[in-house]
Amino acid sequence: MIPAETYLLLSAAIFCIGLFGILTRRNALIFLMSVELMLNAANINLVAFSLQHGNLTGQVFSLFTMALAAAEVAIGIGIILVLYRNFTDVDVTKATTMRW
């Protein structure tokens, strides 16, 4: 069996790629994709350790995570759509009518 550390390293790497994307990209859609990467990093952990521990808790929970990620994207696309209608752009740094 592949040692558990390998999965942890893989998921940590994917999580960090997602985080990097969020911090550097300005396009809201790419932002959404980066969030998906972070969520799926969690899924890799859950599925890998489900096998490792020999129980199904992690596998089942990862199905829930996927469904929630899909729901989140649905809401996110809706908000990005109204963002585009109001600011004629999907750049997340353009929407600054209020100060931070």
Binding site: N45, L68, I75, G76, I79, V92, A95, T97
Partner: protein
């Protein structure tokens, strides 16, 4: 005494869910309905039922007979006193918010969706109070978050609202990803998601499995890797900090509260915050008991982490509030500051976990009182927005002469928020102070005192503008909206009544915290 089936313990959450489904049904029957009265009526009924069930179960002692509460779905959900206490908070805040929304959404389209989303989000909060596993907690948390993103961006022609919704969504999505990753790490380290299973894994030091509903270690299970567990707990703290608008994930709060429709700001800053805190209380008291955690080799000292967060949140929230020019944004930052006060509930604990019941019950009582006074204050802002009064402090000048009842209520809210003995806020802060003294956490006590004194300064700016200053421009108030007035005055009455009634509240909270 009637013996109800076990699943009825979830009635506070179920009545909210049912009401939201009825609203969606009403919407599909008549999509263009402008019958705001009917829609508000259904929502108020649902949320009042929820509050009523929670109150009834608390007084009837549901979940107190044996200290485990009513366990449902293989222990994934536990309805105990703590859960009922928070269900009561959520029910009462939701009632006030939907009542106030009656006038607010009257001229908007998609009214049924508005109310349905509010109630769905409230359902999530109710479920979150009873979640006894990281899995149910995560699902419930998303049920709280997803409708509230849509609600913040509800005024889709309004740039401020859309911007607020975007920022809330972006930060919320990242923090829920961080939380999910934290949960996956805790699962990797312990092999279980149920809170009691995680606790067993920490105290025994071996990975656990749930077989036929009971937590046990199997032959050959490896030891719990403490470092991975520690990182997981740290990420869960991050997720909680977002939901409760605490430092370092607080910066969405002023944006979202300022841009959102004011009743939604009230809803998010009171009920949503309470829901975040119940997750924190339950997870850290049950799943990650500090004594075992430190004894097992010190994965992470979360008491220390919460002490730092509490002090930072109090100072940042209150100092930022003191420098604001607009009333709504000031209230938004003050709500960040209040998250800091409630964090004392997890911070005023000694190394072996002593004092946790006392400090947690202080935090819970403060959240209950805060639920009324803060909701009321934001609903007063909704009232001001309804009248077209401006956003700045000066715009409130002389409002007391034109709307004395509402302004008197607002004065009660603000002074109670500051901790003056005019509302329940005085005792709840005193109780928090007592909790810090109990474990000799001098820095927390000092931060609480300093920040309460500072908060009096910026709250009284509004009071001064309303009652003392002369109005700058001409302004006529044409109508006195019934729903908003009922909600604001009702919240004020409860805030004042909580002054003599606080003893009872803190007793229930202390009992609930002890039973955990």
């Amino acid at each position: 005494m009637v013996a109800l089936p076990d699943w009825m313990a979830l009635a506070p959450a179920l009545s909210l869910a049912l009401a939201s489904l009825v609203l969606l049904l009403a919407d599909s029957v008549d999509p263009d309905t402008t019958n705001t009265g009917l829609l508000t009526g259904i929502s108020v009924l649902g949320s009042l039922l929820s509050f009523g069930f929670a109150g009834w179960f608390i007084t009837a002692g549901t979940g107190m007979a044996d200290s485990t509460g009513v366990a449902l779905f293989n222990n994934q959900i536990v309805v105990d006193q703590m859960a009922l206490f928070f269900m009561a908070i959520v029910g009462s805040v939701t009632t006030l918010v939907v009542l106030a929304s009656y006038d607010y959404v009257a001229e908007h389209s998609y009214q049924a969706e508005f109310f349905a989303l509010v109630l769905l989000s409230a359902t999530g909060m109710s479920l979150l109070s009873a979640a006894n596993s990281l899995a149910t907690a995560f699902v419930a948390l998303e049920l709280v978050s997803l409708p509230s993103y849509a609600l913040v961006a509800f005024l889709k022609e309004n740039k401020g609202s859309v911007e607020a919704g975007l920022k809330y969504f972006l930060i919320g999505a990242v923090s829920s990803a961080v939380l999910a990753y934290g949960i996956s790490l805790v699962y990797a380290a312990t092999g279980v998601l149920r809170f009691d299973g995680v606790a067993t894994a920490i105290s025994s030091g071996t990975v656990q499995t749930i077989v036929d509903g009971s937590v046990q270690a199997q032959a050959g299970d490896p030891a719990v890797p403490m470092a991975i567990l520690g990182v997981g707990i740290l990420m869960i703290i991050g997720g909680v900090a977002f939901k409760t608008a605490s430092v370092p994930f607080h910066f969405w709060a002023p944006e979202a509260y300022e841009g959102a429709p004011a009743p939604i700001s009230a809803f998010l800053s009171s009920a949503s915050k309470a829901a975040g805190f119940v997750l924190a209380f339950r997870a850290f008291a049950v799943a990650f008991p500090i004594g075992d955690l430190l004894a097992a080799g010190g994965a992470i000292n979360w008491v220390m982490a919460f002490q730092i967060l509490a002090i930072a949140t109090m100072f940042i929230g209150n100092f930022a509030a003191a420098t604001q020019e607009t009333v709504k944004r000031m209230l938004a930052y003050s709500s960040v500051g209040h998250a800091g006060y409630v964090l004392i509930g997890l911070a005023a604990v000694s190394g072996s976990g002593e004092g946790l019941s006392l400090s947690m019950s202080a935090g819970m009582s403060h959240l209950l009182v805060y639920g009324f006074m803060n909701t009321g204050a934001f609903l007063f802002i909704a009232l001001a927005e309804y009248w077209g009064v401006g956003r700045r402090f000066e715009d409130y000048n002389g409002l007391g002469k034109e709307a004395p009842v509402a302004c008197a209520a607002m004065t009660v809210f603000l002074f109670s928020l500051a901790g003056l003995p005019i509302g329940g806020g005085f005792f709840s802060k005193f109780y928090l102070f007592q909790a810090t003294l109990n474990v000799s956490a001098w820095s927390l006590a000092a931060a609480l005192i300093i920040n309460s004194a500072l908060s009096l300064f910026y709250y009284s700016r509004v009071v001064k503008a309303m009652w003392i200053e002369e109005p700058t421009g001409s302004r006529t108030i044409e109508s006195y909206p019934m729903g908003l007035y009922t909600a604001v005055v009702g919240a004020a009455i409860v805030t004042v009544l909580l002054l003599p009634g606080f003893n009872r509240v803190s007793e229930i909270a202390f009992q609930a915290a002890q039973l955990l």
